[in-house]
Amino acid sequence: MTDHVSMALLERYATGGQGIAADTLWAVEAHLEGCAPCRERLGEAVVRRSPEATALLAAVRAKLATEVASSPQMPAQATRRVGRWVPPGIWPRLAMTIVVIAAALVLDLLGGGQFVLLVAPVVPLLGVAAVWSAGLDPAHELVVASPRAGLFMVLRRTLAVLLVVIPALTVAGALAGASPARWLLPCLVFTAGALALGELIGLRWAASALALVWTAGVIAPSVLAARAPLILEPVSLPYWAGLLAVIAVALVLRRDAYTGLRSETWSVR
């Protein structure tokens, strides 16, 4: 016995299946259900051997075509896909991020400070906070209960935020004289750090806490002393790289925190 239904059998099936034993008929139908090539051959057999069935199918097709034409259709839109990368409520936050970067740039150009460099590590946190937060994403409850919830989804949304923030920072940095070599690693450390800390206390709180620590610990003293802090000099980069590696490991180890099953309601309310 071959794997597929023979043409002779298909032609008999196409003309009504008279004289095919019940068990064979059952096997033919079971095979046709799962085998597209055989269905195609059955279609050819129908056209060749059974003009009345062909006419019936043509009539059904014509009738369906008019019904389909009068029923609402799914519009094809490319914009829908964007929502799969960022939560739809994040746009105001991203706009705010751009405003902060622009304000820092203006201060630098007017006063000759280092504001772009100083805010660069923490400015992505504005958007990152909204990536996984009940307060900033109206459908968060639906998102956390969905199969796609988890670290991968969080990282994907974070990447979308960084794809907006880093080019903006690069442009502002070029105008203000802050090279990406100085702020890119700290920027990634703070982003990953917020995600890792967010596994413990919720992403929104984590982002706020880190931004506060940076503002109080680095931005304020640097502005008072009117010089760039040592930890944003190239000499500190190896430490940032080491920190990033440690944070990445911690993030992956506790990834289940983003999948759901929380015992506390920290990131829901």
Binding site: R80, G83, E141, A145, S146, P147, R148, A149, R262
Partner: protein
């Protein structure tokens, strides 16, 4: 509109109950909102009743695998919900309408339901048909391409039901689905619930006793995190009739038997707990 049924859906199951809780305890904030709940549910429409703060929403959220059980066991589709469970596989078979249904205001109904279908891992080829079918079933066909922010409260609720049923779930959790619906829409929703209940385990949390009496095959009454009563709606009505005559409650004539049964069972339970 019909859809193809795969062999996986019609396969025999190897578990006794679709949802089974045994001594389940779930924390909501600092409070133990569900405290020692025993529950067994199979295919059908199950009405979850209880006073405010009884733990209805917390129970629904733990079945939706949003909250981790603090104690006891919760078994969904034959799988124990704990840290080791493959949540992704389970969640594909769950539909969930939260009590506070948040949505994206600028999305059209179709975009929103399609987004949820994507979140639920549905194959891209099946999504447009499934989205259209879900929207048709809740009666929003003519508003499918309107933005969510232009819908009335009842329509938003129906869009919420559409997103919950888009993946043809085995477990459907609806938290207060009738809130904001007018009487005619509530009748339509009840018909839809009965239809869904033929092959799905539907858990409907509500505070409207008449919804339960009309649409549910099974009634669950919880109070202070425990199951107080489980039975068919007729049992609830029978409890109301006997309570109305024996305890001499001052029930108004317009109260239904089911409503009297609800309050009679609650009162009896509270008396027993205090003594």
């Amino acid at each position: 509109m019909v859809r193809a049924v795969s062999t996986a859906e019609t396969a025999a199951t190897a578990y006794a109950w679709t949802i089974h809780a045994d001594g389940l305890r779930v924390r909501a904030g600092r409070r133990m909102a569900v405290d020692g709940l025993d529950l067994a549910m199979d295919t059908g429409v199950h009405g979850l009743l209880g006073p405010n703060g009884a733990g209805k929403t917390t129970l629904v959220r733990s079945i939706a695998t949003v909250l981790r059980p603090a104690g006891g066991t919760l078994t969904l589709l034959g799988e124990k919900v704990n840290g080791r469970l493959d949540l992704r596989g389970l969640r594909r078979q769950v539909g969930y309408l939260p009590q506070e249904f948040g949505y994206y205001r600028r999305f059209t109904v179709r975009e929103f339901v399609e987004y949820i279908a994507w979140l639920k891992d549905m194959p891209a080829a099946e999504t447009p048909g499934a989205v259209q079918r879900a929207i048709d079933r809740v009666g929003l066909t003519d508003r499918a391409d309107d933005r969510m922010k232009t819908l009335s409260g009842g329509m938003v609720r129906r869009a919420g039901i559409a997103q919950a049923i888009v993946n043809d779930p085995r477990i459907l959790l609806l938290d207060e689905p009738t809130a904001g619906l007018d009487p005619d829409q509530r009748l339509q929703l009840r018909a839809l619930l009965r239809e869904l209940g033929t092959d799905t385990c539907v858990l409907v949390s509500t505070h409207l006793v008449e919804d339960v009496a009309a649409a549910c095959t099974d009634v669950l009454l919880i109070d202070a995190g425990r199951l107080v009563f489980q039975g068919v709606p007729a049992d609830l009505a029978a409890a109301g009739d006997s309570a109305g005559t024996s305890a001499g409650t001052s029930a108004g004539t317009s109260d239904s038997a089911a409503e009297r049964g609800y309050s009679a069972i609650l009162r009896r339970h509270r008396r027993e707990r205090e003594s």
